[in-house]
Symmetry: C3
Subunit: 348 residues, 3 copies
């Protein structure tokens, strides 16, 4: 079972973070489908195919007016439902003049779209991430463009032992790679969980300022919702300590890391990330440090995965792998992609 070359179409993916979408035109390609997004006067998100019906000029290069999106080439105009409402030089608009629209749900500060068969688009299938709308939490966020297939990012995130080597300067420590993982799969939901719990580990640089500790109890609990949502629940606490029986954890720091893995094309990916915390909510300096550290870590991954993508293409079908214990999470995740891909609609 190799790196999945493609992700399934009949699924919800994050197309944008909510704060990326405003009253201007945003071009974004998802699963090879060029989209143009904007926030309507009503505050909802409109998602249209980013190709004028006339000569295929990208609508995202046009202008957003009160009458809708006006194409920047010849002025064909579209309302939020994708209907063409004006054609230059004639009063009649051809009945077939309409661009595709896509099911969209904005939830938990993210904009989800459905590229496949719209009849299969069930909003209830989108996983909730409660802490994103919990006032006891704050977060920082961004998106990194990745010139590598989504499967390589999924592999990367499901096996955090790479932190020890690729991210040594930020979040790596020897114990991450040394500590065995526990992998479980929920056959009903497809959710894959990978737990790695270190009771007495070196505190990596990124956590020292935060915790003031040299050695820590460190938990990394991955919760992967196929195909595109990855949640990492982190606990940092003094060594050999556990939360209380009632769940309270006065000595522990909890942080959440969310990745949304959205294929752009067969060989590029939108790598969305959100880092949340439930302490020091109003601390802009901590925000800045958090953004800097996470951006640096993500860039290390991007550099490595872009290189691997080049290698996969150059090596062609000769690609071979050897999997070991720490790959159980990644292999389980790949199986979920295969399972979801088995039954899907054809591209429209």
């Amino acid at each position: 079972m190799a790196v999945p070359p493609r992700f399934p179409r009949d699924q919800w993916y994050v197309a944008a973070l909510s704060d990326e979408v405003g009253p201007t035109l945003l071009a974004r390609t998802v699963l090879n489908e060029p989209l143009v997004l904007h926030r309507t006067a009503e505050g909802t998100v409109s998602v249209l195919a980013d190709r004028c019906v006339h000569r295929r000029y990208p609508l995202s290069k046009g202008t957003l007016t009160e009458r809708g999106i006006v194409c920047g080439y010849h002025g064909f105009t579209y309302d939020d439902s994708g209907l063409c409402t004006a054609v230059p030089g004639q009063s009649r608009v051809p009945r077939t003049a309409r661009v595709s629209t896509y099911p969209v749900v904005e939830q938990d500060t993210m904009v989800w779209v459905f590229i496949g068969d719209p009849d299969l688009a069930d909003p209830a299938a989108i996983p909730r991430v409660e802490w994103l709308s919990d006032p006891a939490w704050t977060s920082v966020r961004s998106m990194a463009p990745l010139a590598a297939r989504a499967g390589l990012l999924l592999d990367n995130l499901m096996d955090l032992s790479h932190e020890t080597f690729l991210h040594a300067a930020y979040i790596g420590s020897p114990e991450v790679a040394e500590t065995p993982i526990v992998t479980t799969v929920d056959d009903t939901t497809g959710v894959v969980r990978v737990e790695r719990r270190m009771s007495d580990a070196e505190c990596p640089p990124a956590y020292q300022a935060l915790s003031g500790l040299d050695r820590i109890s460190r938990w990394q609990d991955i919760e992967y919702h196929p195909p595109g949502l990855y949640l990492l629940h982190i606990r940092i606490a003094p060594p050999h300590t556990l939360p209380a029986a009632d769940g309270s954890d006065p000595g522990g720091f909890r942080t959440e890391v969310l990745y949304a893995i959205t294929p752009e094309t067969d060989r590029s990916t939108h790598d969305f990330w959100i880092v949340g915390r439930s302490f020091e909510l109003e601390n802009p300096e901590l925000d800045r440090r958090s953004i800097a550290a996470q951006s640096a870590v993500v860039q290390q991954d991007v550099d490595a995965l872009n290189l691997l993508e080049e290698i996969l293409v150059a090596d062609g079908s000769d690609y071979q792998e050897l999997s070991v214990n720490l790959d159980t999470g990644g292999l389980a995740a790949r199986r979920q992609i295969e399972r979801l891909s088995a039954r899907q609609s054809v591209p429209r």
Copy 2:
């Protein structure tokens, strides 16, 4: 009928503007054929295949001497007829050592070449552009390299309604897109004419300094000679005025815009342009403004068409269009390309 992927070979195309060709070697590819041009001692233009017979090094990288073109790699030497006259290290020159030459006609300040079957090269088939040699006219000119197929440039020029949207800052005004066109095709010559005449229109920025008018009568008369010559006859005058019955037009400004559309490869084009006027002949400041305005407009087209070329390639055979009234000119032009392409020689 989609954008023509290729233009016909058995036709004359502009390879260069006359002032580009001097006593130095000029490399230029036309219809995928690499050419080297120079002006001979007699003042005529020589056009040879730009590949040495020996190891295919481009002759344009060599030097032009009294003995002819000397290849910059091993010194094979060619006279203006393409005959190899000297080979290093031996006195005998192989009889087959000769590079192709191409029919060439210099006329109306442009250099025309014929890439296809030379037996079909009739100089009388090259359309004349009299104002280019009329002392009552002056002009500015240049060539913009376009990373898009020639058909996209033809589409662009045949439908000037795009001026309203793409060129709003220079030559666009609402009336261009709003005013219907009249399209006629001469079945004998294949010439396509598209007339758009606005009797009371907003004066676009590029014409205000020239005319001193806020509103104008504006005529745009396109005269397309397939496959590669596009003439735009422009009249700017006070609103609701017409030329006199004898053709005189004291209140009107006449300008001419010429485009020569020459395919370089299947996906790139030489976009030659000349802008002429019959007033203020000796006005270098007006020359400069004319060059600046036209260069800016052409660059807007180049940017848009380069983007469309990428989209055509990315979308592959899924490419679909919806044509409306304002496309009658462009569609008529495409039909001429198809007609001329139907019977043609095979590449030599």
Copy 3:
């Protein structure tokens, strides 16, 4: 017989100059095979496949430690024999975890590798270059990356008449191209010799400062050992002089130029060069001038050959050549490549 598209695999090639290989990881691709080289604690050269068995991350991006090469992604560790000795998160290392190693010989200040069937790797087949280890000689050296197939570099070097045209400013003079060559092939060893001896020639710029002469006797004796080693024996002396019968040559300057032609991929080449002299051994200023002149000449070749590679690809199978007397050396060399390619192992 066209430019060889590929060079034979079951042959020794120079992978690096000795001084390029130290106690750090050096990535180098030879015949499409990605390699990682380093000098071991014992001083020998280790050559391993540059792909971790786990997820194919390049080992050259990892770190070299006392335990061996540690992969920079997940920490798989390899000893100098390519054996994987440590896997993170588990004590057992899979038995099949091993990367390929390659036969390697360091000789005469160059590192030779054998990419094909290792059973055919006979170190005695590597040609010796005695002057490289002779204390009476000194040298300067470097490697130029070439974005062209190795056959184009071989063509270039076997026909030095191009010096007159491509390198006029450095080592060209009219007599090089005018003087006929004598080509001989040793059918047993495959060595091709091309001699060009000018008894009274213009002294090119690069030799004037050296010799103080305006006209010279100039010998260029090529000795090509297929597939990858090219030796050029140069004698510069006063016109019409010969060495003495006992071989002594008090009025002559002897220099040696060595090229190692190593295919990187099917369309790129490592162009190693060494320039040696047996006079003024301790003259850093002469070293600097020699490096500057040879680098400039090599760059002229690189520019020309990169252009020819683009032409070969663009022209496709239409590629045609016309060969003349001065090509006898190049054609003989191509035949040796064909002969060596006829019987070879399949890629592993």
